[in-house]
């Protein structure tokens, strides 16, 4: 048994859970629509926001519609709910009735009329319903402006109308109370989403009294907003007040009393919230994209555009939640950390996709039921083996069955080798088993730098423990050997002093007649660059006035800088290299150095000429290139070192990284000062001017790029038209 076994909690609850997981797995796969075409594809998002194909997690199994239940077609139904016993309540809005079906999708009853103290009453356009664990049915009777509480058999208990007149000041004049969604927590508090109500959920206490708003989307004004409100006229301010916080579209209450809400309209990072009893959003958003739903960052030429728009949300076990995107008819499921587990569903005129998806809930056996207001039916989706494995893996991990969880994750990987969460799961298990190398491999496949770093730290420690003695011994022995060899050699050669060039006087160039002058210039220049690095003032002064530098070595340094930057991008260790290696493009990288450098040099020369600078453009070029030496000197070893650092040591890494940059910038500044023979304040002024000039040049460049682009487009269009008409 692996080490983890000892930590396994052994309560009855968890044993039952374990058994349940196994059963779920055994009966996974939908029997109803065996093997038929499923009209949608599935995917997950990787850390770069790219959709990666995935196996189908859920497949349509059967449909529930009014005709097959024998009660006539549904008419634009708006909500459904699965109660604690697994009964499905469908709110058939257009027919003002509630249809209750059992687990086998057989009709149990229809609730349309109820009796209020001897007076018969009914619903009018009801749009939301909720059933508590105690068997109380709450209906948002929208057009009657009330919440109706019934027993699950349809016996009237009470009605909760609009907030009383004492709250009049809370609401805008002319506000008509139209509750559209309702939810009730364990304490009996009633939460209502009302139409045209932008202040959050309306909260009613157990007695049905209005208590205030919960989860109000807080408007944080941006700097621009603040500035604008200072200078805006009253009329403008009034108009601005119309940009109201958004409305909620649906809510659900989970077993721990948290309220999940979805925002109406296009999704942003606040589209789904998890409110604690105090009304604060406690949702964790650790996924690659903070905005739930589809990643929408470009405008493809398609009919369905824009980000997701959530119509409903359902809280599931283990902090998992699923939300229904009305825009593309998809169900997105996230784990408790906000990482996307799977996606399914689509729009269209085939069995198993939607035209107007409005609500969803989870049936016993982890099946998901989605209501379609246009197709007038509810479709039950059953998990495939793949999704069942994912759920089982999460449940087992939560219960402390780590090894069983790993087995599930390995099963998931058999179905989908792209699934990063499974690699994380396996990685965590391997970490627990002290198999750090394997954990590293899995975390790396998962693109999980945090986990990788953790595993690497342990692995590094193991290595050091294992090899520290041997390494130190061999180091000492090696050094001694080296010393021995050298002293022996010295003894053999006699007391001839070594002809080494003194580093402090690099300009004493060896006059080797056989070497070409370019080689000499290069060697001398590079050595001088190292000297300038540590003696900037004297170095740059002599550079200009003693002609110590040369263009060849400057160009070499520039080339080295470009190579260094590329090497940093490509060869920095996994933990510190968040970029997609496949997308690396050497030309773009080189240009990212060359263009600013060229701009700097040219603008520097142009501006300083006007400001009595003494340096020629060649001087500026040489000095600027020499100033970049620290980048090469520091980043090359840093890139090597990044392979042995872990994330906690990242501070050190980034400190050195920044040091290289600051050093270069300082040199650039000093260089400018010395080359042009400026004092500090003149240099400051000129640097500001140069930066402004560079910005201006960039602007001009971009402008001409735009113009050339438009002109090309125009000419292409003309060419096409001519070619076509002839």
């Amino acid at each position: 048994m692996p080490a983890a076994a000892g930590r396994r909690p052994e309560t009855w609850d968890q044993r039952i859970l374990f058994a349940v997981c196994m059963v779920i797995l055994a009966v996974a796969a939908a029997a109803g629509s065996a093997g038929a075409v499923v009209p949608y594809q599935s995917y997950t998002y990787d850390m770069w926001g790219e959709a990666i194909p995935a196996p189908l997690p859920y497949v349509p199994a059967r449909a529930v519609d009014g005709r097959s239940l024998g009660i006539g077609d549904f008419k634009a139904p708006q909500d459904l709910f699965v109660d604690a016993r697994g009964l499905l309540y469908i709110l058939d809005t257009g027919n003002n009735r509630i249809v209750v079906v059992d687990r086998e999708m057989r009709l149990l009853r229809v609730i349309s009329r109820f009796d209020i103290n001897g007076r018969e009453d009914g619903f009018k356009g009801p749009r939301g319903l909720f059933v508590t664990a105690e068997g109380r049915l709450y209906v948002a009777d929208t057009d009657n402006g009330r919440i109706v509480e019934l027993t699950v058999d349809g016996q009237f208990l009470r009605e909760i109308g609009a907030p009383g007149p004492e709250h009049a000041t809370t609401f805008a004049a002319g506000f008509v109370y139209r509750p559209v969604k309702v939810g009730v927590d364990h304490a009996g508090r009633i939460f209502v989403v009302a139409r045209d109500q932008y202040d959050g959920l309306m909260e009613f206490n157990v007695d049905g009294e209005f208590r205030g708003f919960v989860g109000a989307p807080r408007v944080t004004p941006t700097l621009a907003d603040v500035l604008w409100s200072r200078i805006a006229t009253d009329a403008q301010r009034e108009r601005q007040a119309l940009f109201l916080p958004t409305e909620f579209s649906a809510l659900d209450v989970d077993d721990d009393g948290f309220i999940f809400v979805t925002k109406q309209g296009a999704a942003n990072n606040q589209a789904i919230k998890k409110l604690n009893p105090a009304g604060r959003d406690v949702l964790i958003r650790k996924g690659p994209s903070a905005t739930p739903g589809d990643v929408w960052n470009y405008e493809p030429n398609v009919t369905v555009t824009g980000p997701s728009a959530f119509a409903d949300v359902v809280a599931r076990d283990h902090g998992i939640y699923s939300a229904l995107d009305r825009n593309r008819g998809r169900v997105f499921t996230y784990d408790e950390n906000g990482r996307l587990l799977y996606v399914f569903g689509g729009r269209g005129g085939q069995w198993g996709n939607f035209r107007g998806p409005v609500a969803l809930d989870v049936l016993p056996g982890n099946a998901i039921v989605v209501l379609d207001e246009i197709k007038n039916r509810a479709i039950v989706f059953e998990p495939t083996r793949y999704a069942a494995l994912i759920h089982a893996a999460i449940a087992l991990y939560d219960a402390g069955y780590y090894d069983e969880s790993e087995r599930m994750w390995l099963g998931v990987l058999q179905h989908n080798a792209n699934y990063e969460l499974a690699y994380i799961g396996v990685g965590r298990a391997r970490y627990r088993q002290d198999d750090f190398y394997s954990a590293m491999v899995n975390f790396r496949l998962a693109n999980d730098r945090e986990g990788y770093s953790e595993a690497f730290r342990m692995y590094r420690r193991l290595l050091i423990e294992q090899y520290f003695g041997a390494a130190m011994t061999s180091l000492v022995v090696g050094l001694m050997l080296l010393w021995g060899v050298r002293s022996a050699r010295r003894r053999r050669l006699g007391n001839v002093s070594s002809p080494r060039v003194n580093a402090s006087a690099p300009f004493d160039l060896a006059t080797d007649a056989n070497a070409s002058s370019l080689w000499l210039a290069l060697r001398g220049g590079l050595k001088y660059a190292l000297y300038v690095m540590v003696h900037p003032i004297r170095g740059f002064w002599d550079l200009k006035h003693e002609n110590r530098g040369n263009a060849a070595s400057a160009t070499a340094i520039l080339a080295a800088v470009i190579l260094t930057v590329i090497a940093v991008r490509q060869y920095t260790g996994f933990i510190f290299n968040a970029r997609k290696i496949q997308d690396l493009n050497v030309i773009v990288e080189a240009l990212s150095i060359l263009v600013p450098f060229a701009l700097w040099t040219v603008v520097n020369w142009a501006i300083t000429t006007l400001m009595d600078g003494k340096g020629s453009i060649k001087d500026v070029y040489i000095a600027s290139a020499y100033a970049l030496t620290p980048i090469v000197v520091i980043y090359v070893p840093l890139t090597l070192v990044s392979h042995v650092l872990v994330q906690e040591e990242g501070t050190l890494y980034f400190l050195i990284f920044a040091l290289g940059l600051i050093w270069s910038m300082t040199l650039l500044f000093t260089g400018t000062m010395m080359v042009h023979d400026y004092n500090v304040s003149t240099t400051l002024l000129s640097v500001v001017c140069i930066l402004a000039g560079m910005g201006f040049m960039l602007f001009i460049g971009m402008l001409s790029y735009e113009i050339i682009g438009s002109a090309t487009g125009f000419l292409t269009a003309i060419y096409r038209e001519i070619a076509f008409r002839l």
């Binding site: 796969a29 069995w351 495939t384």
Partner: protein, 920 residues
């Protein structure tokens, strides 16, 4: 409450009456008004000479089929066309309203049938017979023409009420001219009326009417400036009747009727015009000709629209400027022809279904009204990518592989086979949505593919249509019309055979009769185990910062041998290996004119060794190649996209795309070229000369069984329409199999390719399940089971492998896996990341026992015809075969007992009934 009951009673009465009227007609022998035009041993063909509707009587069963539901006023017409006019104007015409109603048709008897020639579109405009100007003298003469007092009176009345009597006379000396500039041609003249004194306004109004009639009926006048006094001179001092302006059309119609009743003809109308120097009335532009032939061919009715009978206006002069500038030369090409939309159309009282060949086949129950869909259309053989790849792909659908459809009600059924022009056909099905609407299924044929070209290239989102669109769109058409005739064959079924199984049998018989399908498997062989191995894929790897595509080996030649040997050891005696991505760069290989083995996969010796190992094991070996789509263009490889790829109608190079799974948009990184069918023969020859040296007996063709694309180049000589493309593909298949003796494996399987294939993989096991469908049926399997070995999707790629295994058994397929030797995560972060569960080790454990079990259990039904299929309980299906064999499949998680036979959970069982009830 009697008030409430009455509408119901009325409804009931109407219902009964219509029922009484329709039913006897539908069931009776020969309806009144029809005449017998042809008869053979099986059928009698009748035609109604007044409406050109036909009826066919099956002499054996006495079933009568009508081309149009008898007695119905709306479901008329045998042919309907859609045509285009300049400016993206679209028009439709049908043989009833635009031909029969004007008696513009000719019925010609043929040896075995009858031909009806229609001229669609009346010759003159609707009110062409009503003169706008007529002299009093001529009017008086007309009145004298007839002795019929009533007709005389009617004409006099029309003249009095709808015309105004005026005379154009010179202004008396001294009177001031008060005409506006637009009427200056009448300077010096005015109008007088014998009946009353005209006000100045009335004078101007009638002058305008006269002026516009003169301008409208003279070709030589284009605008006001062209009008001179000479043009109006013939009118001067003549007593005129001028037709009032702004008359409602019913008055115009009755006035015209009055003229017609006294014998006024188009010649008279021409004479009246020439009297005033005007042109005779111009015929309308929209005149089309189409003929349809009905022939009896043994037990079949063959419906034929000969290509050369289709005529449309070419370079006619649009004198009136109806479609743009006046006197422009225009053509009105016919886009498509709809044939026999209402043949056998079933009304609201019938029960039965329509069969759509979508995927494996689907049924639409009659009158099963769906709330969200009442009509659906599927293109035969999928879309033609040379007409432009779709901008997006939102849904997973199946294709139509077989060009057939059918309808069944009561005791009768028909199967229609599209014999010619199938590649340009679309099949539509519609359910009745209420009274007067029929359940029907029909085909429509594109005569000239059309697409809209945008010329500015700028896309603008239209909030009205909800689509991205361009502002300046121009309709473009295939340079010439498709050359093939349109031919449909209707076969009639009765009684026990009148169901979809009977249709499948009829179609299977038809294919065998035609020689298109023959038995290629021997029933004594063990069933094949299809193993598809993926050799290499490409991956983007940066080399010194430069991204380069490198081949990533997934299964080397040696590893392939090892997998085959391992399976053979486990008892797979009859494996069939398909090898994907084994040459020229992997799965998305280069132009395959010259085969280069992949160094990363092994040496040529390794490849030969693989071939030897497989032939030693007696396995089939089918290396795969993509001949229709070219993934990559390299210099000097014999393929130039400019010259050898198909062109779309807007003259771009035709491409095929993969689509983004999340946003549905085209993925420009995964585009391939559509090889022009013109080039296909050349490529096949070059490929073969290179392939022959490898000595492999088989070949797998990736797209040829499913894809069919035309080439829309603008030159007449190079254009290849889709039917011609099909002929080219067939020639290549014949060359590969007959001339070079290769065994072929295809993907999918359009009807024309099936006859050449040893094996068909990835054939559909379901339909697209459009909302209008009520049920999926294994029609495709019924046609080919026992003739060709087939398989569906790879079992390990299905969403549920166990279900897919059961599905395979249910649909009579064979075991099929797609594997690779390398770990599955090798493809992660490549563009082949959709191959996410390929590692063979993961699947071997379940695949081998399943195969061995099937081999033992289902050998008996191999080679038999599939005769029936039904769902007998929730999650339990029964597939029947000849000889009383049946396979029961249980998808439930608990055992079931059906007909006294227990089927275990997620299992199947083969049973044989007493062969008393064979077939059917």
């Amino acid at each position: 409450m009697p008030t409430k009951r009455r509408p119901r009673l009325i409804f009931l009465a109407v219902f009964l009456l219509t029922g009484l009227c329709v039913l006897p007609a539908a069931r009776g022998a020969v309806p009144a008004g029809m005449v017998l035009v042809a008869e053979n041993d099986f059928l009698r063909l009748f035609i109604d000479e007044a409406t050109t509707e036909i009826a066919v009587e099956d002499k054996l069963s006495n079933d009568v089929w009508f081309s149009n539901p008898p007695g119905d006023q709306k479901a008329k017409g045998q042919i309907a066309i859609k045509y285009f006019a300049p400016g993206a104007v679209e028009g439709t015409m049908d043989s009833f309203n635009d031909s029969v109603a004007h008696e513009q048709y000719v019925i010609r008897p043929l040896d075995t049938g009858v031909r009806v020639e229609y001229t669609l579109g009346r010759e003159y405009g609707e009110f062409a017979l009503l003169p706008g100007l007529i002299s009093e003298e001529r009017a008086a003469a007309l009145l004298e023409r007839t002795d019929d007092e009533a007709a005389k009176r009617a004409l006099q009345q029309a003249l009095d009420r709808n015309f105004t009597r005026v005379t154009l006379t010179a202004v008396e000396e001294g009177a001031a001219a008060t005409l506006p500039a637009s009427l200056r041609v009448f300077d010096g003249y005015t109008l007088t009326s014998p009946a009353k004194r005209l006000t100045n306004n009335e004078v101007q109004r009638f002058l305008r009417v006269i002026q516009s009639r003169v301008m409208g009926e003279r070709i030589d006048i284009e605008e006001l400036a062209d009008l001179t006094f000479d043009h109006v001179r013939p009118l001067i001092d003549i007593a005129l009747y001028v037709l009032n302006d702004n008359l409602p059309s019913f008055i115009m119609r009755s006035a015209m009727q009055a003229f017609e009743n006294v014998g006024y003809t188009m010649e008279d109308r021409g004479l009246d015009n020439t009297l005033f120097g005007l042109d005779p009335p111009r015929p309308r532009l929209e005149r089309f000709k189409v003929a349809i032939e009905y022939r009896l061919d043994g037990p079949d009715l063959v419906v034929w629209v000969p290509r050369d009978s289709i005529e449309h206006p070419v370079d006619v002069i649009d004198i009136g400027g109806k479609y743009g500038p006046r006197r422009q030369k225009i053509s009105l090409p016919i886009h498509s022809i709809r044939v026999l939309e209402f043949f056998g159309a079933a009304d609201r009282n019938e029960t039965g279904y329509m069969f759509v060949p979508d995927g494996s086949g689907a049924l639409v129950h009659l009158n099963s009204v769906k709330t969200s869909m009442s009509q659906y259309t599927v293109p035969v053989y999928g879309e033609d990518l040379a007409l432009g790849a779709p901008l997006e792909r939102m849904n997973v659908t199946r294709r139509v592989h077989l060009p057939v459809f059918g309808l069944h009600y009561g005791e009768q059924a028909f199967l229609a086979v599209i014999e010619e022009s199938a590649p340009s056909a679309r099949i539509s099905v519609a359910v009745s949505t209420g009274s007067g609407s029929f359940n029907r299924i029909w085909s429509e044929f594109v005569v000239r593919p059309q697409s809209a070209v945008d010329l500015t290239g700028e896309w603008i989102y239209s909030p009205v249509t909800g689509y991205w669109d361009t502002l300046s769109k121009v309709n473009v058409f295939q340079y010439r019309a498709n050359e093939a005739d349109i031919r449909l064959r209707y076969r009639f079924l009765h009684g026990e055979n009148a169901d979809y199984a009977g249709m499948a049998e009829a179609y299977r018989d038809y294919l065998i009769e035609k020689g298109a399908l023959k038995k290629r498997l021997s029933p004594d062989d063990e069933p094949p185990f299809f193993v598809e191995l993926v050799g290499a894929v490409k991956k983007l790897v940066p080399v010194l910062g430069i991204p380069r595509l490198q081949s990533v080996p997934l299964t080397t030649y040696q590893q392939a041998s090892a997998i085959a040997e391992r399976l053979a050891e486990a008892g797979v005696n009859r494996g069939v290996l398909r090898y994907l991505g084994w040459h020229n760069g992997g799965v998305e290989h280069d132009y395959p004119a010259d085969i280069k083995l992949l160094g990363g996969l092994g040496t040529a010796a390794d490849f030969r060794a693989l071939n030897d190992v497989l032939s030693g094991l007696n396995w089939g070996f089918y290396p795969d190649v993509s001949l229709m789509y070219i993934y990559r263009d390299r210099l000097m490889d014999g393929f130039s996209p400019n010259r050898h790829a198909s062109r779309t109608l807007d003259r771009r190079i035709a491409r095929r795309y993969e689509y983004d799974v999340a946003l549905f948009a085209r993925d420009p990184d995964r585009a391939s070229y559509v090889l022009s069918p013109r080039r296909l023969g050349h490529l096949v020859d070059r490929f073969l000369s290179s392939y022959a040296s490898l000595g492999v007996p088989g070949l797998s063709l990736r797209h040829i069984g499913t894809a069919l694309n035309s080439d829309q180049r603008e030159e007449l000589a190079t254009i290849v329409d889709r039917t011609q493309a099909q002929e080219i593909v067939e020639r290549q298949l014949a060359k590969l199999t007959q001339t070079h003796g290769l065994g072929l494996m295809i993907n999918g399987g359009n009807d024309y390719a099936l006859g050449y294939a040893d094996y068909a993989l990835q054939i559909p096991f379901s339909s697209s399940r459009a909302d209008i469908y009520d049920r999926d049926v294994p029609f495709y399997q019924m046609v080919i089971h026992g003739l060709v070995d087939y398989a569906g999707e790879p079992i390990n790629n299905a969403y549920d492998p166990v279900t897919q295994m059961l599905k395979t058994v249910e649909f009579g397929g064979n075991i099929y896996y797609q594997w690779a030797y390398a770990p599955s995560e090798t493809v992660k972060e490549t563009k082949f990341n959709d191959l996410y569960s390929l590692n063979y080790e993961d699947w071997l454990g379940s695949a081998i026992p399943f195969y061995l079990e099937i081999k033992d259990n289902l050998q008996a039904i191999r080679g038999l015809r599939m005769t029936g299929h039904e769902t007998i309980a929730q999650g339990v299906s029964r597939t029947e075969y000849d000889g009383g064999w049946a396979v029961l499949v249980n998808y439930n998680h608990e055992p079931v007992v059906v007909d006294g036979i227990k089927v275990e959970a997620l299992n199947y069982s083969l049973v044989q009934r007493h062969p008393s009830r064979e077939g059917g």
